[in-house]
């Protein structure tokens, strides 16, 4: 594994107040695989990504990005390499036009006006927002505004992109768009990390799942490996994706993640 491409955390500890530790010694490596971080609220997921962004500094332990210690960089410097879409688009959108909002980040991290415009157009095209570029984001529905927020971070062309609950309030079409974005980012060799509660979406879209519980990592592996562990998931108050539940209910050995997989395998069985 190429050392330069990853984020690595070593014995990471974090507390907001001295007597309550949120992260209790995490050692992890994020590689180029698309990674979903799942777990109950309060398990430390948001704290973890804030540490990756430099918004918080660890109480002890280190985070390294491409071999360099993150604590040596400012938030603005980190923003050039690690982008994050916050959960509520209303917490960041302030421009009157979609295009201006999307260009804000790129301009702030040092792109020229032309580069920022090109990048914004590319991001809008990825998310199907091109027709809406001159609209006021607040005239759009919440789910579309969320897509604008995602576009505004994509346009910054960071190596790593963190998505905080991207699928909330999205309908089927919105989720498909986001799936497509994640696949394209993966093709561009960019690392996608997401915090998410939608297990079906994770099963369909992500290569790796990390389960947080009580400030620690209790499961870490491919989504197939992780979702096979019903009992451990239950301890973290999580469920298996629906397709996996069906496999389990039918007593299958193999773990299926998507409906297509299941159908293909079952059709083979039928043909026998």
């Amino acid at each position: 594994m190429d050392d330069k491409k990853c984020l690595s955390m070593n014995d990471l500890h974090f507390s907001y107040t001295p007597n309550e530790e949120i992260l209790k010694g995490m050692t992890l490596e994020i590689d180029e695989r698309s990674t979903a971080i799942i777990g109950q609220n309060g398990a430390g997921k948001t704290t973890f990504v804030k540490l990756l962004k430099g918004l918080l500094r660890p109480t002890s332990g280190t985070i390294q990005f491409e071999g360099k210690d993150l604590s040596e960089f400012t938030v603005a410097q980190i923003a050039r390499h690690i982008g994050m879409v916050f959960q509520n688009p209303n917490d960041q959108i302030f421009k009157n036009k979609v295009i201006d909002e999307i260009m804000f980040g790129p301009l702030k991290i040092g792109m020229s006006e032309q580069e920022a415009m090109d990048s914004a157009n590319e991001a809008m095209e990825m998310l199907g927002l091109t027709e809406l570029k001159d609209e006021n984001p607040y005239d759009l529905g919440l789910s579309t505004r969320k897509l604008v927020a995602i576009a505004s971070i994509l346009a910054m062309k960071t190596q790593v992109i963190i998505l905080d609950e991207p699928t909330i309030a999205q309908d089927y079409a919105g989720k498909e768009k986001i799936k497509e974005v994640i696949r394209r980012l993966r093709q561009q060799n960019r690392t996608v990390i997401t915090i998410i509660h939608d297990m079906d979406f994770v099963a369909d879209t992500f290569e790796r799942a990390i389960v947080f519980a009580n400030g620690k990592v209790i499961l870490d592996g491919t989504t197939r490996e992780v979702f096979a562990q019903k009992e451990v998931l239950e301890q973290a108050y999580l469920e298996q994706p629906n397709v996996t539940k069906l496999c389990y209910g039918l007593g299958y050995d193999k773990v299926f993640l998507t409906t297509d997989e299941f159908i293909q395998e079952a059709q083979k069985q039928i043909e026998r």
Binding site: N41, D200, N242, L250
Partner: protein, 289 residues
């Protein structure tokens, strides 16, 4: 118990051209659990708000047709009266906390104080509501100290204490973690068992299929269909309306496995498991026979 009669409802929000609700008519019997699905912008929230009277009495706008909750004409009833019959819970738990009360107990009392309920009855209703929603142990906590799921249950309790016959839930779990979601669905299930008529907007099709007696499919403000989950999710044209079916149904559609003696596909985990078992045993029989 309340039945709902919706007749030719048309509605436009102020300063818009588009009809948010376009000539919708249907009838719901008391005690039914109606799931509402459709793509974003299809009119699901607007329909909820129309049944609760917020459209047109809060939002104004152009309104035609009528909605009857039992004998009450929604358009002609003040929200402060209608809220005794029709309760509504929204997506964001934080924005349903009044902010004027320091404990969960007092927070639930807020609506009852507004309605002028005498104190002894108030206490009984609050205790019952908290027990139903399993939040009695939080009664002295500050409402803002609760988790998302607990806060949403408190919001439901605050409405339930007002003893409505109809309960509307507009995407009540979308901002919650899996545990919070499970807590809310269980609570809603209990309400349904008490005979309250329920309308629920959800994107989680598996839950819609599990709980609903019938499902409304909306598209572009129009009512496309109102039928049992089995019939709705067995439709092959769902992608046209921007919705999908439960994962189990997708699988069975792909394998052409329908429920025994019907023209419908399974829509819940149990039904799917059953269909597969029947299919396996038939295969066994065919092999042996």
């Amino acid at each position: 118990m309340a039945g709902i009669i919706v007749k030719n409802i048309k509605y436009k929000y102020p300063a818009t051209d588009r009809l948010a609700l376009d000539d919708i008519s249907f009838t719901v019997e008391p005690g039914e659990f109606i799931g509402i699905i459709g793509r974003n912008g299809s009119g699901k929230s607007t329909l909820c708000q129309a049944i609760a009277g917020l459209v047109p009495n809060f939002y104004k706008g152009a309104y035609g047709g009528s909605i009857l909750v039992d004998d009450l004409v929604v358009k002609d009833t003040e929200i402060s009266d209608l809220c005794k019959r029709v309760g509504i819970v929204f997506q964001n738990p934080f924005n349903q906390v009044t902010g004027s009360k320091m404990t969960v107990y007092e927070e639930i009392a807020f609506g009852l104080e507004n309605l002028g309920i005498p104190k002894p009855e108030m206490i009984q209703r609050i205790d019952d509501a908290m027990e139903l929603l399993d939040i009695s142990r939080f009664k002295d906590r500050n409402p803002f100290d609760l988790s998302g799921g607990q806060m949403q249950r408190m919001a439901i309790a605050s409405i339930i204490a007002m003893k409505p016959d109809v309960m509307i839930l507009d995407e009540p779990t979308s901002q919650l973690d899996p545990q919070g979601r499970e807590e809310v669905f269980q609570a809603v299930h209990k309400l349904s068992q008490q005979g309250i008529t329920i309308f629920m907007v959800e994107h989680n099709m598996e839950k819609i299929a599990e709980y609903s007696s019938r499902v409304i499919l909306l598209d572009d403000g129009k009512l496309v269909a109102l039928d049992t989950p089995g019939k709705i999710f067995s439709r092959m044209d769902l992608p046209e309306y921007g919705v999908t079916e439960p994962a189990f149904t997708t699988i069975c559609k792909g394998l052409h496995l329908k429920c025994k003696n019907t023209d419908e596909y399974p829509v819940t985990l149990k039904e799917a498991e059953e269909v597969f078992r029947v299919y396996q045993s038939q295969k066994e029989e065919n092999r042996n026979g």
